[in-house]
Symmetry: C2
Subunit: 277 residues, 2 copies
């Protein structure tokens, strides 16, 4: 998906919501456990209930890999289902990969390559620690995106991401400044946690226009209004992710309906925000 | 595997060689492509030919994930085969994972949990960028290990790993110092590339006894003698990885024989080095 397609999608749906498909088997409603593929069945019903309110879906790989072969199968089925709606949603492999160039090339193929990948995501999250040659292979597919970790939403973000050089520049700022020259605003985004919203003002000085994928609203306690206040651009420039607060809004047979209600409440708030641009 | 078991294994085999199973389908000898599972068949023959010379095997996940469901199946079969030799080899999932605590917990389950993992590795490589809560879930299984990226063997290592604070401390040094308090010498190792061997002297000042997993000898150009000179401890303290230089020593029907010859040549050099302790 191109940047202008994504912007149009946001305008059309009046939403910049990303739903995280952190579909942990032990949290899926009991009545689905008797179906042939409970994780896929769960995802399908969540997607059906939220597609008109959502611009992106983000399966987190850990929740699939932890189920071994069956989990990988559920992921393939989920992506096959989502890829029917190629023009209606942006897909994110939340995989946080990154390895030497020779290896990243294979990960890129696994997740992004339209010719050979059984998943064929629009984008993948990548960790920056290993530097340029670990990231650039993911940038070699047309209209596919790298979403690089910058400032994450967890407590451990403070351990190394704020490590500061003699000029007062922090590691995450160095990551933003250096990596933004590896790609462009049409193939790179950054992960910036909602729990650190006030830092978005500084981030926008380094990358004024790049899209940001913002986790941490909802279960992790971040605020949508705060994120928009500091991070919104004229093109929106934000994808706000919510996972558990939407997909596990109910653990009963009404889970899809409750997920829709949660997504709708976020989308209505987003519509107001988009009206201010 | 415990630290003392690993040390005994090294003494018994007179080797600290790790063979990287970077089993890329397009590089596997042609005559294997007609077998039911070429990647597994290749791995099995490599393992059979090198088991007495090797203390560790390290499948790199990218090479399996790039084959989708079939690749995951090949990995499960490879691990089932390797886990027959639990006391004879240490196994490393070269996965470079790392996510928020809630998610890392699932990755840990996927790769390490003896009760539920279909892979049941002894260890996993983890990226440090997201900090303590992204790493600690991997430390919760008895006798299982985290191998944390510190100073990698690729060119991109220079992009962020050498980022320096006002006191002249580099990021990888901060990673070593801080993370070594999260676990201990019996459940944490570090990745330090052979291409930066001279930096091992400084690294040993921070972590005098931890095992290091050292990639970059062979195809990437690092030297075994240099690594030993600066990195060897009284317990050895090193696992030297070679991947392509061993497994793709020949692309013909004699690939396993040639792989053994390469492994033997490294093991003989290692035996000499171990005799100096």
């Amino acid at each position: 998906m191109t940047r202008s397609d994504l912007i149009q999608l946001i305008q059309r749906k009046k939403s910049f919501l990303c739903v995280g498909l952190d579909s942990e088997l032990s949290k899926i409603p009991a009545h689905l456990l008797e179906t042939e593929d409970p994780i896929f069945e769960f995802n399908k019903q969540i997607i059906d209930a939220t597609l008109d309110l959502t611009v992106a879906y983000k399966p987190n790989l850990a929740f699939y890999e932890s189920q071994g072969l069956k989990g990988w199968q559920s992921l393939e089925k989920t992506m096959k289902y989502l890829n029917q709606f190629k023009d209606e949603v942006f897909t994110i492999a939340d995989a946080k990969r990154g390895d030497i160039g020779n290896t990243s090339r294979l990960y890129a193929q696994a997740f992004l390559d339209p010719a050979s990948s059984t998943l064929n995501f629009d984008s993948i999250t990548v960790a920056p620690y290993m530097g340029e040659d670990s990231v650039s292979p993911f940038l070699s597919y047309e209209n596919k995106w790298v979403i690089l970790l910058a400032l994450t939403s967890n407590k451990g973000a403070f351990d190394f991401q704020l490590f500061e050089n003699a000029e007062g520049k922090k590691l995450y700022q160095e990551v933003l400044a250096k990596s933004s020259t590896w790609g462009n605003e049409g193939n790179m985004m950054y992960v910036v946690g909602a729990t650190k919203a006030e830092m978005l003002a500084d981030i926008r000085k380094i990358i004024p226009n790049h899209f940001l994928l913002v986790p941490g609203v909802g279960a992790q306690g971040g605020s949508l209004a705060e994120v928009a206040k500091y991070g919104l651009t004229k093109d929106c420039g934000l994808l706000i992710n919510a996972s558990r607060s939407i997909i596990f809004a109910s653990k009963d047979t009404d889970f899809a309906e409750k997920a829709r209600a949660e997504a709708l409440s976020m989308q209505l708030e987003m519509k107001e925000i988009l009206n201010t641009i």
